[in-house]
């Protein structure tokens, strides 16, 4: 009777766990694709900066070298110029959008999710002085999870996109497909198939990560289990919580395997 009671309580907490899990996936899977686009952006606004001057300079530089003996001031200007051109070369290769997304991904993957949840919840007040309503707590949990997981999904998507042979893009280009058509019809479907196994990994991790929502006092299943365990001074509730996670992930694995199988009609 006592055990059944425990099961019922944890099952109720499972509702919150499931809700957080589902909402995180709904938002982070597409958001990850946007992050991938940012990360893969090749926009380089300074690509052609000073190309003409460089050419002229190279010609005059060749003349100085040919002369053989240069004065100290000539040497100085030459060295100064070479520093300048070194900077210029870096500026030309600079891809601002890609850089920004690299930094964002580095932060999201390099700091604890628990900390990120706290920042999302308390940030608006401590940084901007905005006080938000009580319902923001739940929004903050979902937002924090979604942004964090989007960073991981983005890198998985990128690996998938980059693993598709360049010939696929070239074939589409020669046939006249637009860039959007090439991505949606040729690249994306093949990418999805390739990224399923690593995405499954992340989804399984997410199931267990939902327990971190306790930092924002979101009572999902594991939070309940800990409370019950403390109240009864027993580890049984924690053990049962483990079984719940295991069953949840077994379902996730079966579903993802089905999806993989449904895409196995080509290789």
């Amino acid at each position: 009777m006592d055990f059944l009671n425990l099961l019922a309580q944890l099952a109720a907490g499972m509702g919150n766990t499931l809700l957080l899990f589902a909402l995180t996936l709904v938002f982070s899977l597409p958001l990850g694709l946007l992050v991938t686009f940012g990360r893969m952006s090749t926009w380089a606004p300074f690509k052609n900066l000073g190309i003409k001057k460089e050419k002229e300079r190279r010609l005059s530089g060749a003349a100085i070298l040919a002369d053989g003996d240069e004065s100290l001031t000539q040497q100085m200007t030459r060295i100064e110029r070479s520093h300048w051109s070194w900077l210029l070369a870096h500026l030309r290769r600079f891809k601002p959008v890609q850089f920004i997304f690299k930094v964002i991904i580095a932060i999201l993957r390099g700091t604890p999710l628990m900390l990120q949840l706290l920042v999302v919840f308390f940030g608006p007040y401590y940084i901007f002085g905005v006080s938000l309503s009580a319902s923001y707590r739940f929004i903050a949990v979902v937002l924090g999870f979604s942004i964090n997981y989007a960073a991981y999904f983005a890198e998985i998507y990128r690996s998938g996109i980059e693993s598709i042979p360049v010939g696929q893009r070239e074939a589409a280009q020669v046939l006249g497909y637009s860039k959007a058509q090439t991505f949606l019809k040729i690249i994306l479907p093949q990418m999805v198939k390739r990224v399923l196994p690593p995405v499954t990994n992340e989804v399984i991790t997410l199931v267990k990560d939902t327990s971190l929502a306790f930092v924002l006092v979101y009572t999902e299943m594991f939070t309940l289990a800990k409370q019950i365990a403390a109240a009864r001074t027993s580890v049984m509730p924690l053990f049962v919580a483990g079984v719940f996670y295991f069953i949840f992930n077994a379902v996730v694995a079966v579903v993802m395997e089905r999806v993989e199988k449904s895409l196995s009609y080509y290789s």
Binding site: P165, A171, Q173, V174, L175, Y265, Y266, S267
Partner: protein, 251 residues
């Protein structure tokens, strides 16, 4: 009229000059083979013609219309929209590059329907007719991975033909195939030649180039060393470099 005309094409990769001032033109119905050692620039020339690679300098014309021209400084400038010119040609790749997630039929019909906005039923009928001609009609619903290399390459030829190009380029169409499978692909190209399809074929199959082409171009080191009718180039070779290359092939 020239279907394709390229004038004074130059292309470098870094410090490596791959094409050094090459000019080629191809007449309607003409079959041109390009032969030469690896690294001679023949594939790069084909990639420049098919807009997969941008020329550093030089002009490109399709059907008498300028697809790319030089600015005052002699650098090639491309217009924003090149699709008008992409409709002029088809390209058959060495590695087929069929879309693995589409059936054979979908591979053939998707571009005509979604790029040329043609009627799907009509496109499908044409595609089936082309498959029948190739003896592949029973493969319409198969996926590329279920076909042999030779069959895949024939499908990719049909995919290019389904766009009704004015000129068809082949980039070493049999290099990725078993020797046993090259025959069926070469037969198809030969058949197209008999139907007066304009074609440019980069190949290492000397006997085939000799049999099928109206003109053979021998390239080496980024230049055209020698060109002429196949019996001239193969039978009455003028340049020492060509002789040397052909000798290596006979051994």
């Amino acid at each position: 009229m020239n279907v394709l005309k390229m004038t004074n094409v130059k292309k470098s990769f870094g410090d490596l000059e791959v094409l050094k001032d090459i000019s080629v033109s191809v007449d309607k119905g003409e079959v041109v083979s390009i032969i030469g050692p690896s690294g001679s620039g023949k594939s790069t020339l084909l990639r420049c013609a098919t807009l997969l690679e941008q020329m550093d300098s030089g002009e490109l014309w399709y059907m008498g219309e300028k697809a790319a021209g030089n600015d005052e400084e002699g650098h090639t400038v491309y217009p924003r929209d090149l699709n008008q010119f992409r409709r002029c040609f088809g390209l058959v790749f060495q590695n087929f590059n069929l879309f693995p997630h589409y059936t054979v039929l979908k591979n053939l019909t998707d571009a005509p329907v979604s790029v040329l906005k043609r009627n799907p039923a009509e496109v499908k009928d044409e595609a089936m007719a082309l498959l029948r001609k190739m003896g592949l009609e029973d493969k319409a619903d198969a996926y590329p991975c279920q076909l042999s290399g030779g069959q895949q390459q024939r499908v990719s030829i049909v995919r290019a033909l389904a766009m009704k190009p004015e000129i068809l380029f082949f980039d070493e169409p049999t290099s990725a195939l078993d020797p046993e499978l090259t025959g069926e692909v070469l037969k198809v190209i030969k058949q197209l030649a008999e139907e007066k399809m304009t074609m440019v074929i980069v190949t290492h199959e000397m006997a085939f180039a000799r049999a099928v082409s109206d003109r053979v171009i021998f390239m080496d080191g980024g230049v055209i060393v020698e060109q002429g009718r196949p019996e001239e180039v193969f039978g009455d070779t003028q340049q020492e470099r060509t002789k040397q290359f052909l000798r290596n092939y006979q051994n």
